[in-house]
């Protein structure tokens, strides 16, 4: 909200304070001032109200005239030379006297007024045009553009303001002013007004609030206390929970025109568009007091009442912005029987808006329920300054004051020939608010804030905000003003207010006492990241919101955003790898050849059977990587390209750095179903890593779901990118990817423990097995698993040393494994080893159809 420093000074004594001091204090009092801007001209008095008594032609110039202008009743008029064409005898005009500072209307610079001679004729001041007083042109009567500002034109000026010799500056809209841009507070509807912020400023500086200097009753007296001729007399409220309180008031004898410059300028200063004198006053009062108001053209209302009721689903309204809007039962409407004239608290209707023809109006000031205004505003996609305030809550007890203030200003500034008729207040509902009572314990202040605040100080701080404070000792009774009832209900709310008003700086920093036991952090992630960066992969952070057509999404398990920002952010990802592939493409497109990336992040699967207390979504932490390009950079030789073997080796290194017993794991080829579910994977160059045990049936899955990670023993995969997928993403080079379920992997880590270094001799034997794929396709993993199973406890290591195939097409191949045997303390004999080797050969022949050359 934009707050005018000058406007604020009408409510609180700011003498001796600068706008910047006030801004700083507000900021440190929870109402952050984001910016202070300066507006308006740099004017200085004396600039006074004068009357043109005589006009004579200048003896030496055609276009310049000589006036006699009176600036004090009963005194001789002054000789003032004037070049404007629009002056006439009897006009009341602003006169800048010697010593005054006004605006040079040609270039906006400061113009200092001196007594001087103009073409031989003495001039004792200057009659001022609006630009010379800093009034923007759009505020003026267009006819006056080049002329002197005629203060008594249009009957808009109250006679009392136009006392000759009185200071023009207070009447002027555009004294230099400071605009404080205050961030609105969602819980402080009461502070969305000049008066509300004035209370805060008064409390923060310990300054008194000023009493209002206007009275509607007095004004009515001076207007003759006439009653309206209109039959309009009632407000009807359907539900007091939707609308606890409403006031209406008929006003007649109204003339629509431009606003009084003081009102227009204030609105413009805070960035509000001016419309006409009546609408501007409703906005003015809303900013001043925080109460939104609406004025209806009384001649466009058919009945003698307005009703506040829910709209029906078939009703429509054309709002002031010219748009036709469909209404429904969730919205609160202001109805002239079956004609909707406004959406309560949001916007009025076009048909009954104030126009140039308006001569009578009905002024509405009400209190609508925040929730229903909020709902209406959301449903219509329409938010206004009024809805902003209603949503934050309007104090019913303050409505009448605002209604009177608006009526006062309308009667004063929108009266046709000074003959405005102010009707009586029409009310419905109740504006009575039970005062809130909160008990404050001194001990709690100390407990929560760590400092003591004396009862006297509490009183000093809270009283300017409208609180009444009673009590001296531990227990202090505080009664809460109606406009703070919503946000101050509890002791802690008062403690907050005290803390803020007393200043956060007054609280001495200290450190919390007891420290509790320090939990062991899990180092899995750190170790994994160290391993991967050590191998040359850089860490990526990818979006977990992915496009609706993302590859490899298991639709059945998809978490979908219902109100996505765009189609690119519609689903929650189920794999990290597609994102890495995109990042690879992004980098390759920018000329980068070697792309080595990894990511640690979450994937999301809908739970088909929601477990108790679950959010309905399984969130797993995955670790994935992508490598593409050369193995290393060197000038001396052609560096070999990254291949499947390197990628798998990286994963194996990673497992080793996490101290995972590889014998608990198993590698196998990816199945067709699995590679279909992850279309970025090469069907024949992808290995799946699982736990070395049978899978349990998964209750969260039906047979058709194929996502690899749905199996409860799946740990991940490593593979080459499918050429079709790589082509579709425009990749320029082969890429290899891996993805691991780090949560599951973590469970397989074993504690580090030194097993000693055996000094007994090692016996190394090679075993070469021949296979024929036409008979049975056997993988190394199968051979290795069988060797370990049959070798007994003395096998220390089994290593694949060669795979031989006569040609790439050959179905026959052989594998040589080098086995290292060692007993922890004894020396093994050749006979023992031969026996073990025989057992291994036998089972390889039996189970895997291996043959052996002798």
């Amino acid at each position: 909200m934009k707050l005018s420093f000058d406007w604020l000074s009408e409510f609180v004594d700011l003498s001796g304070l600068t706008a910047y001091q006030v801004a700083e204090k507000l900021t440190m009092g929870a109402f952050e001032v984001e910016e202070v801007t300066i507006i308006g001209p740099d004017l200085e008095g004396p600039i006074v109200v004068g009357e043109i008594i005589e006009i004579h032609q200048h003896p030496n110039a055609d276009k310049i005239r000589l006036t006699k202008t009176r600036i004090k009743e009963g005194e001789e008029p002054l000789d003032i030379v004037c070049g404007a064409a629009n002056i006439e005898v009897g006009q009341i005009i602003p006169v800048a006297l010697p010593g005054a500072k006004v605006v040079n209307r040609h270039d906006g610079s400061a113009l200092l007024i001196k007594a001087s001679a103009i073409r031989g004729v003495k001039s004792n001041g200057m009659l001022c045009s609006p630009p010379e007083l800093g009034i923007a042109k759009n505020l003026q009567d267009p006819g006056q553009d080049e002329g002197i500002w005629i203060l008594n034109k249009n009957g808009n000026r109250a006679a009392s303001e136009l006392v000759l010799g009185s200071d023009v500056l207070p009447l002027l809209p555009s004294k230099a002013d400071y605009i404080l841009h205050v961030e609105p507070r969602s819980n402080r509807g009461d502070a969305l007004s000049v008066r509300g912020l004035a209370r805060e400023v008064a409390a923060l500086f310990g300054r008194p609030l000023k009493k209002p200097d206007w009275s509607l009753a007095d004004l009515q007296k001076s207007l003759g206390e006439k009653t309206p001729t209109s039959k309009f007399s009632k407000a009807i409220v359907e539900s007091s929970s939707d609308c606890p309180y409403i006031t209406l008031r008929v006003m007649e004898g109204i003339e629509i025109g431009p606003s009084h410059p003081a009102i227009a300028a204030r609105l413009e200063a805070i960035g509000m568009r001016t419309v006409n004198n009546v609408v501007d006053i409703t906005n003015y009062v809303m900013h001043e007091l925080g109460q939104p108001l609406h004025a209806y053209d009384a001649n466009h209302l058919k009945n003698d009442h307005l009703a506040v009721r829910r709209a029906t689903n078939s009703e429509t309204i054309t709002t002031i912005d010219g748009k036709e809007r469909k209404l429904n039962n969730e919205m609160l409407a202001i109805a002239d029987d079956d004609t909707i004239v406004g959406v309560a608290g949001v916007m009025g209707g076009k048909d009954s808006e104030i126009s140039d023809q308006t001569t009578a109006l009905v002024l509405e000031a009400a209190c609508f329920a925040p929730a229903v205004v909020r709902r209406g505003s959301r449903l219509l996609g329409l938010s206004s300054d009024a809805s902003l305030r209603f949503e934050r809550g309007i104090d019913p007890a303050s409505v009448r004051h605002a209604a009177e203030r608006a009526a006062f200003l309308i009667a004063q500034y929108c009266s046709k020939e000074g003959k405005a008729v102010v009707g009586p207040l029409i009310e419905a509902g109740s504006n009575q608010v039970e005062p809130g009572q909160v008990t404050l314990r001194s001990s709690q202040i100390k407990r929560i804030l760590g400092i003591e605040v004396s009862p006297a100080r509490i009183k000093e701080l809270l009283t300017p905000l409208g609180f009444t404070v009673k009590g001296e000792g531990e227990t202090i009774e505080v009664s809460v003003p109606s406009f703070r009832k919503e946000d101050v209900k509890r002791e802690i709310d008062l403690i907050e207010a005290l803390c803020r008003l007393n200043g956060y700086d007054a609280i001495v920093p200290s450190m919390p006492a007891a420290t509790m036991a320090v939990a062991r952090p899990d180092d899995t992630l750190d170790l994994a990241k160290n391993a991967l960066t050590g191998m040359g992969l850089s860490e990526a952070w990818l979006s977990s919101l992915v496009p609706a057509d993302q590859a490899g999404i298991d639709k059945q398990l998809a978490v979908e955003v219902l109100n996505p920002l765009s189609k690119d952010h519609q689903l929650m990802r189920q794999s990290l790898v597609p994102g890495l592939i995109n990042a690879c493409g992004y980098n390759q497109d920018r000329g980068r050849k070697d792309v080595w990336l990894f990511e640690y992040g979450r994937v999301y699967f809908k739970e088909l059977q929601k477990e108790n207390k679950s959010t309905g979504v399984r969130e797993d932490n995955h670790l994935a990587g992508l490598v593409s390009g050369q193995r290393f950079k060197s000038i001396n030789q052609n560096s070999p390209a990254v291949d499947y073997s390197l990628a798998k080796g990286m994963v194996e290194n990673l497992l080793s750095s996490l101290n995972i017993d590889e014998r608990k794991l198993a590698w196998r080829s990816i199945t067709d179903n699995e590679s279909n579910s992850m279309p970025w994977l090469h069907p024949y160059r992808t290995a799946v890593l699982t736990l070395n045990r049978p899978a349990k049936p998964n209750p969260n899955k039906d047979a058709s779901a194929t996502s690899l990670f749905e199996s409860n023993i799946a740990l991940g995969y490593v593979g080459e990118l499918h050429p079709r997928f790589a082509d579709s993403k425009g990749l320029r080079d082969k890429a290899f990817v891996f993805e691991l379920d780090i949560d599951r992997l973590k469970k397989e880590r074993k504690p580090k423990k030194f097993a000693g270094i055996a000094t007994s001799p090692e016996i190394v034997r090679d075993i070469t097995a021949d296979f024929d794929a036409t008979d049975k396709d056997v993988s190394y993993e199968q051979v290795s698993k069988l060797i370990w199973k049959q070798a007994g406890s003395n096998l220390r290591n089994s290593e694949l040393v060669s795979v031989y195939r006569a040609s790439a097409e050959s179905k026959k191949y052989s594998m040589t494994c080098r086995l290292t045997f060692q007993h922890p303390s004894e020396t093994l004999t050749n006979e023992e080893i031969d026996k073990v080797l025989t057992t291994i050969r036998e089972s390889l022949s039996r189970d895997l159809a291996a043959s052996f050359r002798l």
Binding site: Y504, S538, Y586
Partner: protein
Amino acid sequence: MEAQEFEAKITALVASALSAIDNTADLDSLENLRVQYLGREGELTIMLRGLSTLDKAIRPKAGQLGNQAKLQIEQAHDGKRSHLYDSTLNQRLATEIIDVTTPGTRCLSGHIHPLSQISNEIISIFYSMGFTVADGPEVETDYYNFDALNTPASHPARDEQDTFYTNIGPSSLLRSQTSTVQIRVMENTKPPLRIIAPGRVYRNEEVNARKYPLFHQVEGLLIDKDVNFGQLKGTLSAFIQALFKKPVKIRFRPDFFPFTEPSAELDSECPFCSGKGCKTCGGRGWLELLGCGMVDPNVLKGVGIDPEEWSGFAFGMGLERLAMLKYDINDIRNFYTNDMRFLEQF
């Protein structure tokens, strides 16, 4: 054999050996000479073996001569050998000249993402103050994201955080703040508590240089007996000094959050203009670093903790914001584009 005769013979042998050694040009011939004279069947070895057949009277003298001869030949051999080794090696070294200033063979070097780095730094600072890391789901329910955080459906703040809703159910949403973890921890763990919860959050905001529909926060919570606002100030001041590794001028500015009361925004003096006001700080001279406050009694009651017995403070900060400040990054999208030219600068 007479002594003179033996002496003459041995002198001749030594002379021939020394001359041969001296004339040798390579290590292999030198080794052959060593075998020829000093080997098991070498000439000197055989001659010395013959000493036993000599007259007892001349044996000592002959033995002495023999040993002297052996020493002489050995010395000559060793000297020649070391000379030949050095000269051969020098020849080889001369063929091994390379330009030692050419770049080395390099594997790629891996870099940790700046958001990870700053997150780790924050965690380790709080870890040293006795906080432990907690975690929670990103796909949350409105209960944890709003209601339990004292933000009922009617609260205006609920609209301000443009929330993403999901197909999981009417109450399912993507969490808009990591404060959800506070509630989950307090539901399951009895105080005293000190936790820190880093994580990803989502808000439905148009993408621009400052905003992205997902970003990251670190949430902290401390619950104990008699925790007060002064301790909040002390703890977070210590944290900021540790994070920036130098004295930073900070201030606690009042603010409102639904789940803390009193609430504050911790500002640091803008490092780019030293508080004078610039574009980065929007002319304010201060930069918001984190939000914090005393946990609202309603939040404690909601999870079954008696606010009369326990009190505490909570705080939350945006990782991107801190990283952008710390590393002078001007566009938030850099964090998620994963351009290697960006990643490799950290």
